[in-house]
Symmetry: C2
Subunit: 301 residues, 2 copies
Amino acid sequence: MSLNPTQDFLTWTRRIQDDIEIFLREVLPAASLVPQRLHEAMRYAVLDGGKRIRPMLAYAAGQITGASHERIRVAAAATELIHCYSLVHDDLPCMDNDVLRRGKPTCHVEYDESTALLVGDSLQSLAFQLVSEYTLADNGETQLTMIKLLAQASGSHGMAGGQAMDLANVGKTPTLPELELMHIHKTGALIRASILLGAYCGKPLPDEELQRLDRYAKCAGLAFQVVDDVLDAEADTATLGKTAGKDATDEKPTYVSLMGAAGAKQFGQELYEDAISALATFDEKADHLRHLAAYIVKRQY
Amino acid sequence: MSLNPTQDFLTWTRRIQDDIEIFLREVLPAASLVPQRLHEAMRYAVLDGGKRIRPMLAYAAGQITGASHERIRVAAAATELIHCYSLVHDDLPCMDNDVLRRGKPTCHVEYDESTALLVGDSLQSLAFQLVSEYTLADNGETQLTMIKLLAQASGSHGMAGGQAMDLANVGKTPTLPELELMHIHKTGALIRASILLGAYCGKPLPDEELQRLDRYAKCAGLAFQVVDDVLDAEADTATLGKTAGKDATDEKPTYVSLMGAAGAKQFGQELYEDAISALATFDEKADHLRHLAAYIVKRQY
């Protein structure tokens, strides 16, 4: 298939973005509720921004298993809340110390550090509240499996662990496998969880198909990070909506610093092809996942 | 009943402390696993310390419903992990900026701020992993209710929200109802969750008994905080294992600053009596809860 997104796909992405925005507005506590400043800051950190890639992946994976819209949006919102919490904490002065995110001042700049800390903490709790409060599966046991998957993807064996590895890498030159291990944790784990949670919302998949979906998830997640590294090195701040060139300034090893820009782009293309081939046995129900893989490697921000 | 703990009760508390320590050691990632520094710091923040009041309350509540030891210890460990994560984040420079906790340097002093931030984040994820991974109830739906309860108690409508209210109160003189609202969130919500989660591990309670348990939880949780305020004002740092007199230094309103020490002690005693009367219709299976209420108001640290 072509790397150029069809009009149908672009319409679909906007529909998902709108739908998840409406649901997030609904489940985030109103800014009028005590403690107002915290709730206002939680909404600031989540709403009106972001590509919503994780929700899109959840929706697209749910299409393969015929999952209902009511279920997928909950799973999608939970993964997006975990993602947003990680951005708020990663931007804090003691971490990446960034002032710009999604084209706006970061949460601790707009509010203050203690509020931003509590925003992240509360968004994580809210994600787990959503996946336990709404019905996501035909039986409680499957839903418990989904919650466990989300918790593992978020914690020290997943996203938070990846962030710790990232911090440990600063000023060092890791090997490619070390860099990959870090990214599989930092970005890959939650992307994988988004896809699997979306799929689990529908009919159970045979093991072989679940493994294919998992391979797609791994390739798409890593491709996302490779492209992120290229964009950080080549795009400008206005386009990115976050500070460009920050990896080099911070002496962070990236795919660009280890492979060069051309090598990283080539690697991104290979990962895209792997992601597509993982979906080979799926019919047209997997087309949104296919388009999303292209979207991930072709994106400009 | 007498406020003096029996030898049996003291033996029981030590047994619970030992048991929860063993289980926490088992479920916390080994310090040899990548990322080692994060895992080592997670163990540092959780193990070898603390009174384990929340686990004790969970165990004691589970005795009323005949819950199995295997289930209660998971629920108890999850509430303790949430509690420990909150201590690590509350001690950070941008929050209470404290250097001593449980008689040891706080996590960000022993490690660094970014590690402490990730420790808190990861401990929260681990708590939700535990309550979704192990079997806690006879059916998945009850277990989902328990997870939702834990998530609500942790987030912006619970503990994290209480911390936000606490920060907003600094330098102000709230009314007693405002102070109580803050503490019901900051400390009370998780104490209540510990008790209800422990109870849910066993046979379902009739609504009327669940409400009595809930009233006990509210009184015990508030009593805990009132006594905390008295101890902060009157005890010394060595006894407390954390910096004494910090509330006054930080200009934090407390029950002592609003009611005076004598008034706060009297209020603690009244809450104890309310907690005991809430358990009036329970038989001797509730004795550990009764002893714990006494332990909470009589504790010296």
